[in-house]
């Protein structure tokens, strides 16, 4: 914080690099189009810089930045006449009970109802033998990034905030104005899809 206020460009660049991809993902769920989302992110960083002296550290810096982002996105969304509350913005991926229903794991992987082993794995998942340097593997990062980008906007925003940025459930509910149960459903569905993408990748690797 002190480095930022003192005009340390390196400190700013690090913060920008760490937060901006998630900011873009969250903004993309609130305003139409990538270009507008980028403008919202730029406007947010300017507001962060001019507001730095007023930041009192009562929330985490990330929570504060994302709070500003959502405010700007809301204003911008209204100006674009496309404003909708976050919780109803993506009827296909959240809110409605039907949209949230349905299993996150292919039902074909379990014994069908009415059979002796109903509801149990037909073939159990095989443990992943991830290499030590899995985190650094370019291929895994590319697959992960693609799976994350392919999530419906609501799931993508929550997974970014929870798992990429590491915010806790309460922070994410506050930032996105979500009920705890809804936040958890979006997170679970997003994580399950990314897990499946990783499994698909690992199984196509030659042993």
């Amino acid at each position: 914080m002190r480095a930022l206020r003192g005009g340390d460009e390196q400190a700013f660049a690090e913060l920008v690099g760490r937060l901006t991809p998630s900011m873009l993902a969250v903004a993309a769920g609130r305003v139409p189009g990538r270009t507008v989302a980028e403008e919202v992110v730029q406007e947010t960083w300017l507001a962060v810089l001019t507001g730095l002296d007023r930041f009192e550290g009562r929330s985490s810096l990330r929570t504060w930045v994302f709070g500003i982002l959502l405010n700007i996105a809301r204003t911008r969304g209204a100006r674009e006449r496309r404003s909708v509350p976050f919780s109803s913005a993506f009827p296909t991926d959240q809110a409605g009970p039907q949209a949230q229903a349905g299993p996150t794991v292919d039902p074909g992987r379990f014994h069908p109802p009415g059979t002796p082993w109903s509801g149990h794995w037909t073939a159990v998942p095989q443990p992943w033998e991830l290499p030590e340097n899995a985190l650094l593997s370019h291929e895994i990062r590319t697959r992960l990034r693609a799976a994350l980008d392919a999530l419906p906007p609501g799931q993508r925003a929550v997974v970014h905030l929870r798992d990429v940025q590491g915010l806790d459930a309460a922070e994410v509910c506050a930032i996105l104005d979500l009920e705890p149960g809804n936040q958890r459903v979006l997170l679970h569905r997003g994580r399950a899809r990314i897990r499946q993408a990783l499994e698909d990748y690992i199984h196509e690797e030659p042993a």
Binding site: A13, R18, T50, G119, H188
Partner: protein, 89 residues
């Protein structure tokens, strides 16, 4: 009534509770049935571990590089802010 006192949850039910389990958001009874199941079921134990690995790997994406042009735009804005602002005393 006997459902709520059931000793078991099926695998296809357990996989839907993993995020609630990891967030410690299950009620005590469901949590106990969840962990009892995990103790006996290698498949579900592996599934929960894979969800943990997924979360860990997703967390590593935070360090990914930003598109260079956007990064440059933001750094230019930073320099403009810096030059237009007196350094704090």
């Amino acid at each position: 009534m006997f459902l709520t006192h059931g000793l078991d949850i099926d695998c296809n039910e357990l996989v839907e509770l993993v995020t609630a389990y990891l967030d410690d958001a299950l009620d005590p009874d469901t949590r106990r049935r969840f962990t009892d199941h995990l103790d006996l079921c290698d498949g579900c134990d592996t599934y929960v571990e894979q969800m943990r690995q997924t979360i860990r790997l997703t967390g590593a994406l935070a360090a990914d590089d930003l598109a260079p042009d956007l990064r440059e735009t933001l750094l230019t804005a930073f320099r403009g802010w810096k030059n237009g602002t007196a350094p704090p005393a």
